[in-house]
Amino acid sequence: MASRCTRAPALARLATRGPTAATRLGRVQPLPRSHARCLSTTRSGWLHQTAPRQAAQVKFSSETYPELKRDSRYSQLRQEHVAYFKGVLGSESAIIDGVTNDNAADDIEPFNADWMRKYRGHCKLVLKPGSTAEVSSILSYCNKHGLAVVPQGGNTGLVGGSVPVFDEIVINMSRMSQIIEFDQVSGTLVAEAGCILEVADQFLASKGYIFPLDLGAKGSCQIGGNLSTNAGGLRLLRYGSLHGTVLGIEAVLPDGTVVDDLGKLRKNNTGYDLKQLFIGAEGTLGIITKVSIQCPQRPKAQNVAFFGIESYEKAQQAFREAKGHLSEILSAFELMDGGSQELVRSVTKNKKPLEGDYPFYCLVETSGSNAEHDSEKLSAFLEDVMEKGIVADGTLAENETQIKALWAWREGITESLGHLGGTYKYDVSIPLAEMYQLVEDTRARVDAAGLLGETDEHPVRAVVGYGHMGDSNLHLNISTRRFDKRVEQCLEPFVYEWIQERQGSISAEHGLGLQKKKYIHYSRSETMVQLMRSVKSSFDPVSGHQLSLLHRYPYTSCAEVMITGIH
């Protein structure tokens, strides 16, 4: 049998004849996996590359949110500060200096703006430390001299948490990208925080392991940022939250103190498990510099089924049946409504996997070690849900190409929405029984306000919902034709109040960032907020003087919001 590479010329030749020839084989022109996957959690690398050009049009956050004021107690950056940082970092590539060099503005722009083009700061200095010691020197100096900083990973966030608002120094972690060690037996990986998720995963793949987190921006996002935002992603159902898989963390506190809790133990009941506080802290307690994480065995066999379902009740039944039949091999159960799929179709022009149109679609993925065993279980499950009439129609991926193509219908939603105009995104947790009701109620409200319609005079194109059904995590997206203040007024605080009534969370996996800073009270009681405030001051005593150097402006996290008391 000849090697597969002998096939390549035939396909390559075809590719030169027309843009679609090569992709025909794949049936669809799938949105590139790394770009498309769960962009709702992070951003696409492709968009990142165009960021500098587009950033020029992005409005400054300080203009979008005029209520945010720079705290005058923080120092202005001066040349002597820059000189100190140059001394610490040594290498010229580790610093982008817009303070003493006016030509650096273009180089700094990508660090100032987020990929959604919603947030943009006035930062003039980007530091890229290469070691924990350098991070420590930077922070301790900033602490002494009252300089504000914002830690930044892959800058793939959706809530404006990874970019400055005013002139904070950006501490970008991209140079700390080494994989430090891996234990073949236990599956424990130790890596620096700036290591890109996909790089870590590919390294693990070569060892037969998998990173317990997977999301759309994996080609750009960094694991330190993943931890800081407690990213959920597509496989949370299977591998659980980072709170369970992270074994240890090394972090630098705002005053430069290095917290070495880089344990590799699965069990360690000696006092408070403080590393957990850094997970999801959005950088307010310190900068994560190293991570040790427990990685599961990479599944050898994967299957994907795609269903058309008549009602949300039946989608819930299908989820229950899936858990019953597939139990340990179930690795994803994703819900998409008909509206979201129609948007993907209108952008990608791909042929839908199913003949008819249905109000709901589900994507079910199994991962296991034995393909035959998995197929048998999956067939039994499929037969059962078909016979009971729980699913109206469906298909099963017959090969890898179809697996990717089916995933593209879920992962491509965010990117497709991006092509159609602006999107109001709400990433929320709601008890499963009422999860989709939010989309219906929001749609009815927007419609009643006369904002929703198919023609151009209506600002809202569609109100759609999709998400990780397995985790009760819904992404409510309102796709708009243009910016219209009435839309925002119609949505907020309606959506947050709706969630509060049902004891849901206003931020399931994206964090609070700048976007949701005002709304923490919808999901956390005053007591909880007070507790968070005291945790913050233990880690960052300077905030006792109403100064906090990590994320000094009230935008990146709940803790910060509370300390500065703005809302």
Binding site: A2, S3, R4, R7, L396, E398
Partner: protein, 258 residues
């Protein structure tokens, strides 16, 4: 016009999206534990046959679509897939793993099958993506003495058993016309294969599958070709990354480029 009896040969190959690795003995690629699926060109053949029936593009209609595969027991999976896509019946010719047939043997086998099934149209992939031989269709047409139209991008039916096949050639397209019975091989632009729907996957389980051996077709798995050695292409030397301009300059000096 006579009703069509279509024979569609399909092959189980390493999945298109999987990166094949050469086995330790360097006699071929590693197939154990690797995901297999239907040869992509064969999917096009199955899809086209089913479309001819659904779109009633042949004046005489389609009487039968039979898929046939020679391979190990697992080849039955792709036959079921083909039936889920719309084929009526399947023939599985058991060939032990590792005893792969050469194109000529396959063509001889298909000749017998076409005769036994009174097929008047054979639609097959232009090549399988494992061996890339691109020979079977042509050999089969030769053995049967039927006209052939290879690498089809469009198939149309006319009166009096005539069939027009458009094929893409360098610099344009070429249209051939021939009369049934004939052999057509498929190319990528012909169609976009469908997803088999769940109800059809269920139905396919009840469709007939004949199990045969090579002896039933009077064939032996003789080998005329000998694989001497299979090796991976030379590994590309990866580029290095420099930290800054100074690093680049010193690297260039080191290499004697400046």
């Amino acid at each position: 016009m006579s009703a069509l009896r279509i024979l569609v040969p399909v092959k189980r190959v390493i999945d298109y999206a999987v990166k094949p690795r050469v086995n330790k003995a360097q006699t071929g690629v590693e197939t154990a534990g690797v995901k297999h699926s239907m040869n992509p060109f064969d999917e096009l053949s199955v899809e086209e046959s089913v479309r001819i029936r659904e779109k009633k593009s042949a004046p005489g209609g389609v009487e039968d679509i039979t898929v046939i595969s020679a391979g190990p027991t697992k080849a039955q999976d792709i036959l079921r897939t083909a039936m889920a896509m719309g084929a009526d019946r399947a023939i599985h010719v058991e060939v032990k793993e590792g005893e792969d047939l050469e194109p000529l043997s396959v063509a001889k086998l298909l000749k017998v099958a076409a005769e036994q099934h009174k097929s008047n149209l054979v639609i097959l992939g232009k090549q399988s993506i494992d061996d890339d031989a691109n020979q079977t269709g042509q050999m089969l047409a030769g053995l049967l003495g039927w006209p052939q139209a290879t690498q089809a991008s469009k198939v149309e039916f006319g009166e009096n058993d005539s069939v027009s096949v458009t094929r893409e050639v360098d610099g344009g397209s070429e249209t051939l016309r021939a009369k049934l019975p004939m052999v057509i091989t498929t190319d990528l632009r012909l169609n976009e294969p469908r997803y088999a729907s769940l109800p059809n996957i269920m139905k396919a389980k009840k469709k007939p599958m004949e199990k045969k051996t090579l002896a039933d077709f009077g064939i032996t798995a003789e080998r005329r070709l000998k694989v001497v050695k299979v090796t991976e292409p030379p590994v590309r030397q990866g580029g290095g990354k420099v930290e800054d301009v100074d690093g680049l300059v010193s690297k260039l000096k080191e290499l004697g480029a400046i």
